[in-house]
Subunit: 352 residues, 2 copies
């Protein structure tokens, strides 16, 4: 087994420097830290877990508990952000998946406490309210993409309103005035926030809100398809979709009706879903939800504050949802072609 | 704090029965086990982690180490399968994500060993060879969606060849003979296996392999789009795609050329990607990769065998990739319409 001295020798630094790297001392140049980490890796040196824990009084472990990883394509980005921040801070991230089951959630919280974690990150598969288990009150906690319905806890969530505003603004700036929104059910904070952003942007541009341009339903392609068909009657020049999946359905509906994107109708999505948004034809202009950044923020917050996190101060941090411009937005000039069917044939007539 | 006696009282069973549930005795009716688990949950009873560990000599913990969760939409299903099997076996699953970094992988393996896990599940984001770290040789290990290039280890992987066979057979049975395949690079075992399955099925149906019908490239929509365009020249009546993403690009290409799916060209995908396959128009017939089942198999194998897993016996278990029939396959009758352009207008001429 290699020793601390072997590491120091290979890295060409002092015994003390190696020790400081292992114990995550903040007063160390990054270059020095990298040199030591490379030597640790080369020698497969392993500081004894329990011994270190006893010496520093820190377990160097965080728990990441989430409700359902498989049903959402986004959870991976949150975990990735949390994971990278953990490695960066020399901490180990233990991930526990509960599948949304309350008794497994209980087991996960207790497992984390048993392992003397320094903090817990609790993440949900979509932005919502959660009830934090009392057992978790003992430990510094950050909620990701959710907020506590009981007690004060620190949360990091997407700025949904800002995202809805950014999507609508990009259409307004191109000259669109008849902007439809295909939203999800208003029981979801994401749907409420994005709608508020849409309304605020309209207001700032002096455009009156028209409820006939609003559709409400689910998050899926089929919802987008059906709502787009029904929207053709009210002739929007642009459609803002609550998700990229909805936008994918909207694409199908518009194309089947012979309408071109963006020449006839502009489309904006939400999520910047890696599997879909950049690969649609045309590539989808959308709003990026900061999943990676939320995971990263949660871990950095716990790592910095450590035991000093003041749980009595409830803090909800909203991270920006930024517009990702691709090819599905243009000027509204030809949008009024949606009067007839097939639209392509009658475009010229209606443009006049 | 509730005691074991409180649990026994509430569940209406003996002290010994509760103890057997907690220590995962196999000789217990499921009904009894459920009764005790409900009482444990109701009381929030928590057997002391370390005490139990000392008594039984078992940590009841498994580690799940995977290389990159964020870049793949499939990893979630593997984790979900492993997670559900772990809870079912009364074990805790600690998930560690390495992001594919070798030094983080080392840290993860050591973290697992330090925590005295009873076994390690190591999963990759796509089917490939991996080098298992020597440190992990100490512990029962199952590889998921990958296999070891060094030493004997038990793996569970998809039966790629069987999947390719199933996809091609479903087209052959409908009467297709000019079946194109858009494959990924042959450096991937998945691509090699799926191509082998395609060739075997052709052989079994007495259809000669024609290399002009094969395209090789990436896994993405753009690859599917480009290859589909180039395939139009050789007039396939059906296209078997190496992934659902490729199929999505094929849909775009065919639709833009005025071809109907499946009337003009049948399409089969691979993966059964939840975000895409059921939501395309028409819904995509595809092959399901048993991600969930692989995760589940790995944990069941470790839970059953425990320390008795014989590491000297290398075992590669292949789980079935089953066809999921939706709406993108029909008889090839009208497929020859792909002669002209626009095909829709000239369909009748070519059908003769």
């Amino acid at each position: 087994m290699p020793t601390l001295k072997d590491v120091a020798k290979l890295a060409g630094v002092s015994f003390k420097t190696v020790s400081r790297v292992i114990n995550r001392s903040p007063h160390l140049k990054d270059e020095m830290r990298q040199k030591v980490l490379r030597a640790i890796d080369a020698l497969e040196y392993r500081p004894h877990h329990n011994a270190r824990h006893l010496r520093t009084g820190r377990s160097n472990v965080l728990a990441f508990i989430n409700d359902d990883i498989a049903m959402t394509p986004f959870a991976g980005r949150i975990i990735q952000g949390a994971q990278e921040a953990s490695w960066r801070n020399g901490m180990l991230l233990l991930t526990l998946h509960t599948g949304g089951d309350r008794s497994f959630e209980r087991a996960a919280v207790h497992a984390a406490i048993d392992r003397q974690v320094e903090g817990i990150v609790f993440a949900t598969m979509y932005h919502r309210a959660v009830e934090v288990r009392e057992a978790a009150f003992e430990i510094p906690l950050v909620l990701v993409d959710c907020f506590a319905s009981n007690g004060p806890h620190t949360s990091v969530v997407p700025d949904e309103t800002g995202g809805g505003y950014a999507a609508t603004k990009c259409l307004l700036e191109r000259g669109h005035r008849r902007i439809a929104m295909i939203n999800a059910d208003l029981k979801y904070p994401a749907a409420v926030g994005r709608l508020n952003g849409y309304r605020e942007a309209l207001k700032d541009f002096g455009v009156e809100f028209d409820s006939r341009l609003i559709r409400t339903g689910g998050w899926w392609q089929e919802d987008g398809y059906e709502h787009a068909i029904s929207l053709l009657e009210v002739k929007p020049t642009a459609i803002f979709c609550v998700s990229d999946r909805v936008a994918m359905g909207v694409y199908d509906a518009l194309k089947e009706r012979g309408l071109r994107i963006p020449e006839d109708v502009s489309v904006v999505g939400f999520d910047d879903q890696e599997l879909i948004a950049p690969h649609l034809r045309p590539a989808l202009t959308t709003v990026r939800v900061p999943y990676f950044e939320m995971g990263s923020w949660a871990v950095e917050h716990l790592a910095e504050a450590g035991r000093a996190v003041d749980q009595s101060k409830r803090q909800i941090v909203r991270l920006d949802c930024l517009l990702v411009s691709r090819c599905s937005v243009s000027k509204p000039f030809q949008g009024f072609a949606m009067l007839g069917e097939p639209a392509r044939a009658s475009r010229k007539k209606h443009r006049a």
